[in-house]
């Protein structure tokens, strides 16, 4: 296999392709307590993230909808898998850790056991133009938890 083909497989790992083809928790969420829009103005990708946070401060349920490339859809799908059931503070820490890992290219940012799957997104670090696709959902998560009404944008 050529180097280029290996790189492609590193970016489009099986788990990424799986989540982009069959996104988990896709669609609006009834009784959502927090929502946020994520927009990438350069490519026109848009997603809406829904969270239901209970009285104990845990994310009881989450979902998303929108259009985007395989990377952005897979990232949002993996996000909803990862944060459902987490206390808000932990979800925020998650968001920081994942964004750090994707943007700094620093594998030293270790991911907690429940986030191991998100390593599937590691391939984007070699594609500067695609990092924003992967971070969009996580920016929306921060906006939603901060109750920020302005859409999260990659720019």
């Amino acid at each position: 296999m050529s180097e280029a083909a290996r790189d492609m497989q590193d970016l489009y790992r099986e788990l990424v392709l799986d989540h982009s083809r069959n996104p988990r928790h896709f669609g609006p969420l009834e009784n959502a307590t927090h929502t946020a829009d994520g927009i990438n103005p350069l490519c026109g990708d848009k997603l809406k993230l829904y969270l239901r946070v209970n009285a104990a401060g845990e994310i009881e349920s989450s979902s998303f909808e929108g259009t985007g490339c395989a990377i952005s859809v897979a990232s949002a799908s993996l996000l909803t898998d990862a944060v459902t059931g987490l206390p808000v503070e932990q979800a925020q820490a998650c968001s920081a850790a994942v964004t750090d890992r994707l943007t700094t290219g620093d594998q030293a940012t270790e991911l907690a056991a429940n986030l191991k799957k998100l390593r599937a997104l590691d391939g984007v670090r070699h594609y500067p133009s695609r990092v924003k696709c992967a971070t969009l959902a996580w920016q929306a998560l921060r906006s939603a938890l901060n109750q920020d009404n302005t859409p999260a944008t990659t720019e």
């Binding site: 180097e3 280029a4 492609m8 497989q9 970016l11 026109g44 990708d45 985007g68 490339c69 696709c133």
Partner: protein, 411 residues
């Protein structure tokens, strides 16, 4: 021209572009993104470099030798531009930073002082953002209305519907010569003919027109024709506003500063003559000299030869794309130039762009700065392959092969 003669010419042209001779991700580069920005031939790069090394000085200001040389070369480029689009006079050639600035200039200097609430600016649904947003701004400033002529599902302007929209309140019509997202060649001759009968000025956005078609602004009879240097194999940061002298004379300056004045005191400033009235400040001297060199180069090949060669190559590309299982062509106008937008299966265009890049094939992905066109087709974006005369059949074959690889990955 025989087929073999064509092949030889194309090989020669390709050899003139240094950037095309490199590998990307271990594969020879196939550059199919000329509609976003075209590569530059060595003669352009050399002209800019020679100017920077030997002749650089400010223009229109100095009595010394270098300033004289710089001015000669800069103004010489203006004459080449005049000749290239067959404008009646060099005073009608205003140098700008690009198409975008030229349209903003017309919107703010020609339209804004004259527009009244209820007047209309008429454009088409095919326009890119540079021929939409400047009009929206001036409409907000004046209370005028932006009216949009519809397109059909082939990506063609509905001419009769456009003509029906022309009424006494239409102040100006803005229309692309060639639409950037879809490659549609618009029926500008007919639009200009009808507009002239009613005394309505027409601005033609020629950003995608001049690289591919032989443009004669006098034969067209348009009032304004605007284009960018970097899409016609010249440097970025250069552009042209052609305007009929009578209209340019009647317009106030666009920006104030040096070069656009004859005399300045704190009581009153007397503006310079055309075209300098619209060229405040030190211009992009090296870029304009490069643009002049690009025009020399294009004229040495001949725009008619370029158009003919590109049409054949475009038709080959479209025919080959149609054979790809799962392809959906976006934009199938009868008259097109050098561009094909498409979707492949349900693969997002950015994923496709990344996979193609990995095989050395550069295409544009996304909305192509023409979001309303994407909205019309109900899609977020497309993949767009755009050709120049330095492309050939092998490039198209490589594109098709790369699409096959993308299908394997996303299978």
């Amino acid at each position: 021209m025989s087929a073999s003669a064509k092949a030889v010419s194309a090989a020669d042209w390709r050899a003139d572009f240094p950037a095309l001779h490199q590998s990307v991700h271990g594969q020879p580069l196939v550059y199919l993104d000329s509609a976003a920005s075209a590569q530059q031939p060595a003669v352009v790069i050399d002209a800019v470099s020679r100017y920077q090394r030997e002749d650089h000085a400010n223009v229109h200001r100095g009595v010394h030798t270098l300033s004289h040389r710089a001015t000669e070369a800069y103004e010489g480029a203006r004459d080449k531009i005049r000749d290239f689009i067959n404008a009646g006079s060099r005073t009608e050639i205003v140098l700008t930073s690009g198409t975008t600035e030229a349209i903003n200039l017309v919107a703010q200097s020609f339209c804004r002082p004259r527009l009244h609430s209820g007047d209309k600016i008429l454009i088409t649904h095919l326009e890119h953002h540079a021929n939409i947003v400047p009009w929206q701004l001036v409409c907000e400033q004046t209370g005028a209305e932006l009216v949009v002529a519809p397109i059909n599902d082939k990506g063609e302007v509905e001419l009769s519907a456009l003509l029906d929209l022309i009424d006494d309140r239409v102040f100006l019509i803005g229309i692309a010569h060639v639409a950037n997202a879809l490659g549609t060649v618009c029926p500008i001759e007919k639009v200009i003919e009808h507009a002239r009968q009613r005394g309505i000025p027409v601005l033609v956005d020629g950003a995608q027109g001049v690289p591919h078609l032989d443009v004669d602004v006098q034969a067209l009879g348009c009032d304004f024709y605007v284009f960018s240097g970097h899409k016609m194999f010249g440097p970025t940061g250069t552009g042209v506003l052609y305007g009929r002298e009578e209209l340019l004379e009647s317009m106030p300056p666009w920006q104030g500063g040096g070069d656009m004045i004859l005399e300045v005191s704190f009581d009153k400033t007397i503006y310079n003559e055309l075209p300098y009235k619209f060229e405040a400040g030190t211009p992009n001297i090296s870029g304009v000299i490069g643009l002049g060199a690009a025009i020399d180069y294009l004229q040495s090949i001949g725009m008619a030869n370029i158009a003919c060669y590109e049409q054949d190559l475009h038709d080959y590309m479209v025919a080959e794309l149609k054979k790809v299982d799962g392809i959906r062509l976006i934009g199938e106008a009868r008259h097109k130039a050098s561009v094909q937008s498409f979707l492949l299966d349900d693969i997002h265009s950015h994923d496709l762009g990344t996979i193609l890049d990995h095989q050395g094939v550069a295409i544009r992905t996304g909305h192509h700065c023409a979001m309303p066109v994407m909205q019309y087709f109900g899609i977020p974006g497309t993949s767009r392959a755009s050709l120049a005369f330095y492309n050939n059949h092998d490039d198209v074959d490589r594109l098709i092969a790369a699409l096959g690889k993308a299908k394997e990955i996303f299978g």
